[in-house]
């Protein structure tokens, strides 16, 4: 009887163990594996998908042109952390220990990039952030981390210039998502608008990610009668916001962010976007060689025009490839880190060169949607 109970106990424990060991028996480590953690489901799914498309385009091009030296191709291992930081930690660990990648990119939202740094710092695994703007991302004291994209301060400063440039703009109201990105964006923009000649920020509010009805807050904004609005609302809620603004008769000068730069948005609510200025990392109107290369590769692979998020993914992929190539085959984490630290590469967004905190500080740009098309302003 005792023996039977013992064996039942042991059997159930062995099942658990077996599962874990099965999980533990990894496939053979392959060269040049890059681990990607994104919020493929969850509130940032759209941005993650676009980012991934850009990444894949970069990897495709690199592999077609011979890989990263020594015949090694890049292999992407993509995992979904749903935008939850604790899941991102598990994803990071799995990528590092199980999938045995050489480099990780954990993005969207920035809190996952921060949470994952606790893991990568300890594991001495090079980590890049390709789509995280808050300053806190580079303030974790992690020498293995590098931010490839622009940041909130740079975005805010360039947009603030455009805000000041609009005549008769005395007051502005703001709306952004209630998460790390949104709070950081409004804070940076408010700080940038402290400079003289800027409109006064009369109202700022945050919306919840799952929110679908904005009439209440839009009504509030309308009652304050500001001269302009900063509407930083993600896809697809931004369609709803624009439509509800029209329903309420709220028509003001619009400022936005990369969330306004979206071909689908134009399809659904183009006329409502007329005249809006937006801060972006990149736009297809750029004519430099790097942008052209990106445009052409992306169009070939995905049969559509890329947007800002895709461009960020492309740059991340290219930076990774460049670093891997420099570091050479069989490089460990420290070698790849060193390669990243001295990297200099011309991206569609600008020159990628990391400062002592691992921040590339690529400047942002401003577009305006005028006469049905996006035009470069700065």
């Amino acid at each position: 009887m005792i023996l039977r109970r013992c064996s039942v106990v042991l059997a159930s424990l062995l099942v658990t163990v077996g599962a874990l060991v099965g999980v533990g028996i990894a496939a053979d480590p392959a060269p040049a594996k890059v681990g990607i953690g994104l919020g493929l489901t969850g509130p940032l799914a759209f941005l993650s998908q676009e980012y991934l498309k850009g990444l894949r385009a970069a990897v495709e091009v690199v592999n077609q042109e011979g890989g990263v030296g020594g015949g090694r191709k890049i292999e992407l291992v993509v995992r979904d952390h749903k935008g939850v930081p604790s899941e991102a930690v598990a994803v990071a660990k799995r990528l590092i220990e199980q999938d045995r990648v050489d480099l990780v990119d954990i993005d969207l939202p920035s809190t996952v990039a921060i949470a994952a740094q606790a893991v990568t710092k300890q594991a001495k695994m090079p980590q890049i952030t390709g789509f995280g703007f808050p300053m806190s991302v580079v303030e974790q004291g992690n020498p293995y981390h590098f931010r490839v994209c622009t940041n909130a301060v740079l975005i805010a400063s360039v947009l603030a210039d455009s805000i000041r440039a609009v005549p008769n703009n005395r007051t502005i109201a703001m709306l952004a998502p209630n998460d790390d990105y949104g709070r950081g964006a409004i804070k940076s923009l408010t700080d940038a608008l402290a400079a003289p000649g800027s409109p006064k920020v009369v109202f700022s509010d945050y919306y919840e990610r799952e929110q679908t009805d904005f009439t209440a807050v839009l009504l509030k904004m309308k009652s304050l009668n500001p001269d302009s609005l900063y509407i930083d609302v993600r896809w697809s809620a931004n369609v709803t916001v624009l439509k509800q603004m029209a329903e309420l008769g709220l028509k003001k000068q619009l400022f936005g962010s990369v969330n306004f730069y979206n071909t689908k948005l134009v399809e659904r609510a183009g006329p409502l976007l007329e005249g809006a200025y937006m801060s972006v990392a990149w736009a297809p109107v750029f004519q430099d060689a790097a942008s052209k290369r990106f445009l052409e590769a992306y169009q070939r692979l995905h049969n559509e025009a890329p947007n800002d998020s895709a461009s960020l993914g492309w740059t991340a992929g290219m930076v990774v490839a460049t670093a891997l190539r420099t570091a050479g085959p069989g490089a460990d984490g420290d070698a790849i880190r060193a390669a990243l630290a001295k990297l200099e590469w011309q991206a569609p967004q600008g020159l990628i060169k990391f400062d002592e905190r691992g921040d590339a500080r690529v400047p942002a740009h401003v577009l305006q949607f005028k006469d049905g098309a996006y035009r470069l302003v700065k």
């Binding site: 039977r4 163990v17 874990l20 939850v84 604790s86 660990k93 220990e97 921060i114 709070r183």
Partner: protein, 599 residues
């Protein structure tokens, strides 16, 4: 469960890192172990105390935040932060539980859930305290077994071993608590809250205790998690984790000690294992859950050994057993003498009136019961007898009038308070703890004089051992008195009707009360059982208890009672000795019209 099996399981669990080498797999196992604590916490509330607290797992996140904030903001050392976080969380839980416990059933559940949602929203929006959606990064790591003491051993292994040790310690403590009067009281609340109250178990106090204890456990799990993952964000307070913990407890097996641990391990590991099918993770998890529910009605613990003394006795074991007809009853069986009725222990009913809406059920009823006597309360159906019992025992407050026991007014008291004063009752419709064994039923009824609280339940002092021995003696003798000794391990629901009625009397007896209210104890009994009941009741009087008896069996009433009160349509029509009652024309008319009753 024999110690050997436990020991084997423990050793296997501790030794797992030797087999599970991959750091990612170890990570998954560690997180699963931490969630076992949370599952154990919910199990205390849900499985043992039977409270449907849908929002309770939020205290995992609260504990994570509390511990993280104490160590990051206030600079406390990690262990202190962990303990402090658990304490803070328990206080918050008690504050939340207090208003929620005014409600019952699903309303209670929804209220706890609403609070959980509010807590999430506070964390999301109170930027000053929690940094809102930005979360709290760089939470310092936990070192329970410091590296200096165990050089060369990897951090995860040390953490794993310390977690298993902590888990073992927690299980040991829980085992003690569940086996004590505290645990029995929780189970009593779960099985039959009304009866528990009548036996003196203060419902609110124990519900709050379960809620708080469960929250402390959840907070420990949360704190461990925070100091391991090093990042706390509002998602730890979201519905996602609430759902996971419920899965662990329910699919693991509620009301058992090992169920939540199994559930925590299996359902903590499973979602990560299912990452092989990234897209369809929840699809697979959902199907596995449904299959588990279908095959294992009791949860994963059904795979475990059966017939353990902490688990609910399975219903199949209940073969109907008639009460023992063999050995003659020794009326003077030495039942451990409790406080006998004192001369002042009179029950006084003073002008009690009660209305249900427009219906007058009792009208200006007054009488007095002398201590050490048997009073019969008779009258046609609908006369208000049980209502009067309900008023005396604290279930109802009378519209007017009051009742006093030993000079103390009892009409404003809760049932548990009335029991504490020395009055216990049985119910018209059989009220027992159906899934508990006969002996567990009686053990639970010893609460009033046997309980000493949570702390003494944990300590294994000689005083507690003496008390436990006394409880067992009481159980023995009470069961012998009502002739249920052969059926002691049978679940109460499986007893014959007569045996169940006998058990009810046994419960009242085991409380060592001074006054017993018996509500139609002979209903449905055959003549032999009735005769036995008569002996038992006489035995109660000889022990100095006061008995008030509602009955319709006139022979029994006449032969047993010292005095009788007759109610009709809520009014007391006569009071007197059996002889006086039998010949009183008003009584005869009330019952039968105009025919005399033969005594």
């Amino acid at each position: 469960m024999p110690r050997v099996a436990w020991g084997g399981a423990f050793i296997t669990l501790v030794a797992l890192p030797a087999v599970v080498v991959n750091p990612y797999a170890r990570h998954v196992l560690l997180v699963a172990l931490m969630f076992s604590f949370v599952a154990l916490g919910l199990n205390v509330v849900l499985g043992y105390a039977g409270q449907h607290a849908f929002g309770h797992p939020v205290f995992f996140g609260v504990g994570a935040y509390a511990s993280a904030l104490l160590s990051v903001r206030a600079g406390w050392p990690v262990l202190a932060a962990l303990a402090g976080g658990a304490a803070v969380t328990t206080l918050i839980a008690l504050a939340v539980g207090w208003p929620c416990f005014r409600l019952r059933g699903i309303y209670f559940g929804m209220a706890t859930f609403a609070f959980a949602r509010v807590i999430y929203l506070v964390a999301q929006n109170w930027i000053g305290l929690t940094r809102g959606p930005m979360g709290i990064p760089s939470v310092p790591p936990l070192e329970l077994l410091p590296a200096a003491m165990f050089p060369g051993v990897a951090r995860e292994v040390r953490l794993h071993v310390s977690l298993v040790l902590l888990l073992a310690l927690t299980l040991g403590l829980l085992h003690r608590v569940i086996g004590s009067a505290v645990g029995r009281s929780w189970i009593a609340l779960r099985e039959n809250e009304e009866l528990a109250g009548s036996l003196g178990i203060p419902a609110l106090r124990y519900k709050m205790a379960a809620f708080g204890a469960g929250a402390a456990l959840a907070a420990i799990g949360g704190g461990l998690y925070a100091h391991y993952v090093s990042f706390v964000s509002p998602s730890e307070l979201s519905f996602h984790y609430i759902g996971i913990v419920f899965i662990m407890v329910i699919a693991g097996g509620t009301g058992t000690l090992i169920g939540p641990v199994l559930g925590g391990l299996v359902f903590g590991v499973l979602p990560e294992v299912l990452r092989v099918a990234e897209q369809a993770r929840n699809l697979l998890l959902g199907s596995i859950l449904l299959i588990t529910i279908a095959i294992l009605p009791e949860g994963l613990v059904g795979l475990w050994a059966r017939a353990s003394s902490w688990r609910r006795v399975p219903a199949e074991h209940g073969a109907e057993t008639a009460p023992d007809r063999g050995a003659p009853m020794r009326q003077n069986a030495p039942l451990r003498a409790g406080p006998v009725a004192l001369p002042s222990d009179a029950l006084e009913i003073q002008s009690v009136t009660h209305r249900f809406g427009g219906l007058v059920v009792l009208s200006d009823v007054s009488f007095r019961v002398e201590p050490g006597t048997i009073l019969g309360l008779i009258g046609p159906n609908g006369a208000g007898k049980t209502t009067l019992f309900n008023i005396i025992s604290g279930i109802l407050r009378p519209t007017a009038g009051r009742a006093l026991f030993s000079g103390v007014p009892i009409t404003e008291c809760s049932p548990a308070a009335v029991a504490r004063l020395g009055i216990v009752r049985t119910f018209q419709i059989t009220s027992l703890f159906p899934d508990l064994s006969v002996e567990d039923n009686v053990r639970t009824a010893t609460y009033l004089w046997a309980h000493r609280g949570l702390v003494s339940a944990l300590a294994h002092t000689s005083a507690s051992r003496t008390r436990e021995a006394e409880i067992e003696r009481t159980v023995e003798e009470t069961l012998r008195l009502v002739r249920l000794t052969p059926s002691r391990k049978v679940p109460a629901c499986a007893l014959s009707y007569g045996a169940q009625r006998g058990l009810e009397v046994a419960l009242a007896l085991a409380t060592r009360c001074r006054l017993i209210l018996l509500d139609e104890p002979a209903a449905g009994l055959n003549p032999e059982e009735t005769a036995h009941l008569r002996e038992v009741i006489l035995g109660l009087r000889s022990r100095g208890l006061t008995v008030v008896l509602i009955e319709h069996d006139m022979q029994l009433v006449m032969g047993l009672c010292d005095r009788i009160v007759v109610l009709n349509h809520g009014e007391k029509i006569v009071e007197g000795s059996p002889q006086e009652i039998v010949t009183d024309p008003r009584v005869i008319e009330a019952y039968l019209g105009s025919e005399p009753v033969r005594a």
